[in-house]
């Protein structure tokens, strides 16, 4: 029996727990400017130095190309751009010129790449964003020239817990996902890129873990996403508990039937997706993660790396692939949600002092009407090409007039099922009037909590206010669900809270008809739902609404859980 070591606190994504060795994503090695060029582990002869530099650029390009070939979608394109930089003739020409002028090899590489880094930085904007790629290429070439360890993602030989300061999309693409047990980062937020990828892959993930990269490679750790905790050198008891949890979670896997309460009240369990590749992964799941479709297809992922809006043809291709993956299952496509924490190069106003309250989501239609028109046209074309009937909804709608304008535009484009997101308290309070204009609504609990509680989603120290269990937030969800029940129209939830099994019971009790979540959250929600009747869900919801704080609301719900579900979720 070991005592068990330090605990590092973080923000958990998902519910899982694993134990495994740390694999650090390395920061670039410190190589002095005058370090010798190395050939086969020994300093290179003077007349071989230039060839070492040439070979280093070629090896970096080949390595990145191999990674690009293994990736797909936007990530493959990002990596492809890095390959082009590594094989750019002007970098090599620049490095040769520096060598000719007497510079040592490492300094020559840095100067050649540095020229472009300085130029792109001073040009600002989109050009400055390419600087990350230049720095990544520079550090890799320098490491190759000097024979230092390569920065970046390690080649995993055993299943490991990947620990990084932050993971860039390129790093994520380079991971051998079959050997990743969990992802831990010092930076990033619970709704950031890393967390979303981890959620889609069903990997336990911790973000905001201060000091994580100070751990040694190979250190045994427990990653507990539910507790939001990293345990270093875990005790035998810790390891046994993780195994025990895995066994209990395996119990979920036996149930693959459509989501419903124990008395047969159906609830669509759906997956949140961002790309056609996500759609294929979610649609192909034939285990407990089996879903009835997608309740949130976040189209902005398509736009994130673009410097101009993707053409109608490009969008049609991506939407067609996603719709085809789900066949006749439901897919709810959300139109572009740019602005605030998701700035896009071509659709975000540069001088907003308060972007979360500014021109974001559907409001972009006021300044760039072509964006929405193109999206609706592409989606209608994809629907025709696949013979499917996608649902479409717009984010950040605040008034019935906005809902009516959206519905008019979408129906004119040939789309039949039109809805809006309820994220702004004004929309929740006027849900009845909004539902008179559209066919359905979907509640985005993350933003609804942000706007109800006047709390920035990116401020970690205010997380208690942002809690979707806050009674005021629950009141607005209840008001929206009630309006849907009265109108006989679907009310979905597609925020993270739909993936919390206890919250899922509350939502169903309030009258929510579908829950859309990350694919990995589906089994626990399905299992929990199946162990409670519809009327029990109503009781649980009433108990939560009667509480006076977020903590009390959740506790009140938990005390009414079925005993077996409580044991699994506690």
């Amino acid at each position: 029996m070991t005592a068990g070591g330090r605990r590092l606190a973080g923000v958990g994504v998902g519910r899982g727990a694993v134990v495994g060795p740390v694999a650090l994503v390395r920061a670039p090695a410190e190589v002095p400017d005058d370090a010798p060029a190395v050939r086969d582990g020994a300093p290179a002869a003077a007349d071989d130095v230039e060839q070492v530099v040439v070979d280093a650029f070629a090896a970096v390009a080949a390595d990145l190309r191999a990674r690009a070939d293994r990736a797909s979608g936007p990530l493959a394109e990002v990596l492809g751009a890095t390959v082009l930089i590594a094989s750019d003739p002007s970098l090599l020409a620049g490095a040769r010129a520096e060598l000719g002028a007497g510079a040592p090899p490492v300094a020559a590489v840095r100067a050649a790449v540095g020229r472009f880094i300085d130029m792109f930085t001073s040009m600002g904007g989109l050009m400055a964003e390419r600087v990350t790629d230049l720095v990544s290429v520079r550090d890799r070439v320098v490491a190759r020239v000097a024979g230092a360890p390569l920065p970046g993602v390690p080649d995993l030989t055993v299943p490991s817990v990947v620990v990084a300061r932050d993971l860039a999309p390129a790093d994520t693409a380079a991971l051998d996902l079959g050997k990743v047990l969990a992802i831990v980062t010092e930076l990033g937020g619970p709704t950031g890129h890393t967390a979303i990828i981890a959620g889609q892959l069903g990997l336990p993930c911790l973000v905001q873990v201060a000091g994580a990269t100070a751990l040694e490679d190979g250190t045994s750790v427990v990653v507990d996403a539910r507790a939001g905790e990293l345990r270093v050198d875990p005790s035998d008891d810790d390891v046994a508990e993780v195994a025990d949890r895995a066994r209990r979670e395996a119990a979920f896997a036996d149930d693959t039937a459509p989501g419903a309460t124990s008395d047969g009240h159906p609830v669509d369990l759906l997956a949140n997706i961002g790309t056609a590749a996500d759609a294929e992964r979610a649609a192909a799941a034939d285990d407990a993660r089996t879903v009835a479709g997608s309740g949130l297809f976040r189209t902005e992922v398509l736009f994130l790396d673009a410097t101009t809006a993707p053409s109608v043809a490009q969008q049609t291709r991506e939407y067609t692939a996603a719709l085809a993956a789900f066949g006749d299952r439901k897919v709810v496509v959300r139109t572009l949600d740019a602005g605030a924490d998701k700035p896009l190069a071509f659709a975000t106003l540069p001088d907003e002092e308060n972007p979360a309250l500014g021109v974001r989501g559907y409001r972009i239609d006021r300044v760039h009407p072509q964006l929405l028109a193109d999206q609706l046209e592409a989606l209608a074309a994809a629907a025709a090409a696949t013979g499917t009937r996608p649902w479409v909804m717009a984010p950040m709608v605040a008034t019935p007039a906005e809902a009516r304008a959206l519905a008019t535009a979408a129906r004119a484009a040939g789309l039949e099922q039109v809805g809006v997101m309820v994220e702004v308290p004004a929309a929740a309070l006027r849900a009845r009037e909004i539902l008179a204009e559209v066919d359905f609504v979907s509640i985005g609990t993350n933003d609804l909590a942000q706007y109800t509680m006047a709390t920035d989603r990116l401020r970690g120290e205010l997380a208690d206010l942002l809690d979707p269990w806050q009674p005021a937030v629950l009141d607005l969800v209840a008001a929206t669900a009630r309006a849907g029940t009265e109108a006989g129209k679907p009310v979905g939830v597609c925020g993270e809270s739909a993936g919390d099994p206890v919250m899922a019971l509350v939502l169903v009790g309030l009258g929510v008809t579908s829950l859309s979540m990350s694919l990995g959250s589906v089994p626990a929600v399905r299992f929990t739902l199946r162990r409670h009747t519809r009327s029990r869900c109503v009781e649980i919801a009433e108990a939560a609404l009667a509480a006076s704080s977020a903590v009390d609301a959740r506790a009140a719900a938990v005390t009414l859980l079925d005993a077996e579900a409580a044991a699994l979720l506690a």
Partner: protein, 87 residues
């Protein structure tokens, strides 16, 4: 030395994806090299994505292409004139 004057057809100009597609295609024409320049300025190697991006040429602007290899010149001219954002 053959020369052409071409109008940039890509909606986003010679940035990002169009620049990458053009540079990759130009690199595939080696050993032939094609220079690309703003009118009256010194040319840069069209197979360098970094130099292409530094040129900062936008949609509808004209560039001057030159090369000793007329076939390579035609290939690059066609790509510069095309809307590479749509590919």
């Amino acid at each position: 030395m053959h020369q052409r004057t071409v109008t940039v057809g890509s909606a986003s100009g010679l940035h990002a994806r169009p620049a990458a597609l053009l540079a990759a295609a130009a690199a595939g024409l080696a050993p032939a090299t094609v220079l690309i320049a703003r009118p009256g300025s010194e040319g840069v190697d069209a197979s360098s994505v970094l130099m292409l991006m530094t040129l900062g040429v936008g949609h509808g602007e004209t560039v001057e292409l030159s090369s000793d290899d007329e076939g390579a010149l035609d290939t690059v001219a066609e790509l510069v004139a095309a809307d590479l954002d749509a590919r």
